[in-house]
Subunit: 123 residues, 2 copies
Amino acid sequence: MLGPVSVYTPAEVVEETGFTLDTLRYYEKIGLLEPVERNAAGQRRFSDSDLSWLGLVRCLRDTGMPIAQMLRFAELVRAGDHTIPDRIRLLEEHDRRVQSQIANLTARQRGIHNKISYYRSVL
Amino acid sequence: MLGPVSVYTPAEVVEETGFTLDTLRYYEKIGLLEPVERNAAGQRRFSDSDLSWLGLVRCLRDTGMPIAQMLRFAELVRAGDHTIPDRIRLLEEHDRRVQSQIANLTARQRGIHNKISYYRSVL
DNA sequence: GGTTGACCTGGAGCCCGCTCCAGGTGGGAT
DNA sequence: ATCCCACCTGGAGCGGGCTCCAGGTCAACC
């Protein structure tokens, strides 16, 4: 039994992923997205696997991974299953950076809270 | 009794705040920093109050506040104590954004963890 | 079969936030 | 007295990540 094999228009992918159409085209142009299938008229028809890749891209972007590093990751994916350990290492390293991002954000937020408290105290 | 009134060289401020000297000059140029005191030779001598302001700037920058908004905040500070309620509002609004940043980061991190687990499961 | 609107391409432009440079002055340790 | 290094200014340049545009093609609905 195969999973659903669906096809999505650009507008649907924009809706689904939150990326703009310009951004999707840009990602394809730089190779962050595999060349997307086209219909007879040359319009993009995205696949489930494009969608799922874009889901991961969304996670990595939103956690601050630079595009250059996502490209390296994309190359590992293309290179085949033997790169899975490398992919794990890359993601784990990124995860550590995300963790410290959260810690820093939380610490700085405390500084902001202090300032707010101070301002309240002098009202 | 007055607090310590000290004066800091550019190098000390760089050390203390983590901003580069170029960044400090840039912040002064755009008015995010009040015109800094100078010695006879025209070199900057930062005050305690510069340092403390830079501490707040560090919190706001690290939590993603755009420079334009920090400038608005700086103007409120210059305008005097009657703007304290506005400052509180501004900081609280920013705090809410920081909170949702942390939430988003945490959610995306879960997506990354899932991917790592998946990769581990297929090894 | 006409109109509207989604989509296409290549390439230029933009915004943010620094960062770097050239060319020069002054301070302070030896 | 000399050296070196920190610091100064104004202005240009940069890197990242899109974003916008002109000019054109197709599709789909009335």
